[in-house]
Amino acid sequence: MHFRLMLGASRRWFHATAQLCHGLQVEQTIQQQLGNTPERARMNLFGAINQALATALETNDRAVVFGEDVAFGGVFRCTTELQQRFGSHRVFNTPLSEQGIAGFGIGLAVQGFHAIAEIQFADYIFPAFDQLVNEAAKYRYRSGGLFDCGGLTVRAPCGAVGHGGLYHSQSPESYFCHTPGLKVVVPRDPIRAKGLLLASIRDPNPVIFLEPKILYRSSFAHVPLEDYQLPLGKAEVVQSGKDITLIGWGAQVQILCQVAELAKEKMNLSCEVVDMMTLLPYDLETIAQSVKKTGRVLISHEAPITNGLGAELAAALQEQCFLYLEAPIFRICGYDTPFPLANEHYYLPSVEKCLDAVQQLIHY
């Protein structure tokens, strides 16, 4: 065996035994806050978001929810019954203007309100880009802390939905991950969604909370009914493994879990799946630890591959873990095209494509 390979292998062995648990332990965190058996109910993603918003409105009189069509419940039902419960002065429709929504939200947040803004589809967040990037992200820095809009949270449904085409399927996270001063969070299931959304609302920094729309109705979990938060900036190891690290977020994590199962079945591989959860600031420590253990990594996201967040993670990982790597870092992502309707299945980083990449990585 090549000397370098041996060295890499021994390094990884050391890592594997030294640190068995890394990343955020979600269930443990919930238990710490709510006790051993908190009361739970089965609900889907929009139900969990609705719960989180209601909790945010209940626990802070100065929290407001606004955006297009939120009053009747929202086009994805995330704001159902909130206006009835909390009043039209706190839950209200705005005119159709994303730049207005963002600017208005910033103004409210500067005053100390929890301004929870909804953008109807992440595809339409771009008119708000100036307000979010030039204003929200820089408010604290440019004023030396005199003013800040930490109370701002902007929620938007993102990602492929099966029939969305160019303007109902985008994942714009990397535009925002390139903006210091913002935080970007993407949950993968209802339990994480509720905890992360509450943490985002209460975080003293402006947060973009992207909700994978395909999961609104299809992702179910037994969500604790009480108030709990999951920390931002921490990744979660969804399942542990030793042969290869699979990194993703949002709806893609489910794909990677399926890939892991198939890899186990067909190739007898033990895959470690990591959900980033917070994309900015991202948890480099957890993924670096994982890669140092396995030596091979696949990063996968729906957004186009060029300059997607996968590129940043790949660059950071190769810098931190170069001598531990057994193979190049692969990224299986959307192509560099606008999101197509007709060939969506071939555009997306599917289970088959990811499994194929895993095979290539193992035999590199």
Binding site: R62, V64, H89, R90, F92, T94, P95, S97, Q99, G100, A102, G103, F104, G105, I106, G107, L108, A109, V110, Q111, G112, F113, A115, P127, D130, Q131, N134, E135, K138, Y139, R140, Y141, R142, S143, G144, G145, L146, F147, D148, G150, P180, G181, K183, P204, N205, G233, P281, Y282, D283, L284, E285
Partner: protein
Amino acid sequence: MATWKHGWELWERLTERNMNKKNLLFPLRSLSCFDQLCLKHCIRSQPSASRKTCNSEFMESRRTLLRRYSASSSEYYFPGAIGAPYTDKLELIAGEKEGRIPCFRIMNELGEVSSAIEKEYHPDHQVEPSMMTSMYQHMLKLHVMDTMLYSAQRQGRISFCMTSFGEEATAIGSAAALETADVIFGQYREQGVLLWRGFTYRDFCNQCCGNALEPAKGRQMPVHYGSKELNFVTISSPLATQIPQASGYAYGMKLSRSKNITVCYFGEGAASEGDFHAALNFAATLECPVLFVCRNNGYAISTPAKEQYRGDGIAGRGLAYGIDSMRVDGNDLWAVYFAVKEAKRRILETNRPLLLELLTYRGGHHSTSDDSSRYRQKNEIELYSERLSPLRRMKHFLAFRNCWNDEMDEKYIEEQRKELLTALEEAEKAPKAPLEDLFNDVYDQLTPNLQRQKTMLFEFLERQKRPTHSS
């Protein structure tokens, strides 16, 4: 038949519930468009429908209701324009009409107050002489500060500067009519407002020199002032971004039942941005207690107003949003003062926004990076700056009342120059913020990536100090 019955049921319900209320129009607004339509149908077809009460105020409001809905014989109204009467004439509403919205003025170019001015807004009846003098002094201070900071930039002592020559009355007049608790979202030419509120020469110079004493620690270019204490939100370079923020801030003030308002300043150029449109629409629909003040100084860098818009200025746009608006002579300190005072009173009473357009002239260049002689004639600048000068007319006004004279003028200017020079010299000598500060305030706390990058920078600087191996 069904609509009439439905309307009648609504009428019964409304009258039962609101028998003692003066005004039926508020509960009426909360009905859906269809309900309003049915109600109108019912009222019109049964004018002497049995009434539950003979209360005259109630009857008056019912008459108002009838008047509002019986504008025409047609029965159908659209949700997009309830109450819009039908017409059989194919006539356009002129986009560019002949007349202009009139410009409110109290004091002419010579400082004379018209005898037609109402007592409620006549300076001699409403303002103490000491206050009058103080306002003029602040205008002078502003002028002196602008002149000296401009020279300082030309001498290389500061990197950039913007002056507000010709617009002194817009800043001082409006600031004097407000309280410090009224929150200001400015653009970049409102240093006079800060001056009135008590921002010192040292505060101004510290920011321009970017030293460690100013709150933002030199992170921004000069003239990007901010003060939490004086409720002046830190200036940012992108234009018009502050306008929807002001709407949001005002909404929050309304929810907090504040006794103060939010005031937002911007130029006529910035009013072309989409943010202006969004902000006014939001303020109107969400009923935000915000005062929008447009300093229409005729130029956006080199672009004259006639290349900026085709309509009747900015005041002409208020109507489109359902916002009350007014045009004011921005070089007349009293017109600005009383207009803003009245605007604030009205906003607090109604919780509705208001739009003021202050017509003025930009006497100086856009900034120290601009040379306006390249796009406008010297005689134009002289005409506006001298003839319409806000300082000149106020000086005459005070001189006529024996409150001020040329000698006092010279003395005051000299005093202020000396004070400013001292402040500038001190600011130049003060140290810059430490290097670590580069990474602070991006978030409320340092994130791991920033921690790493800070460490990298300092390690790099260490290596630069001690060159290790040169091979």
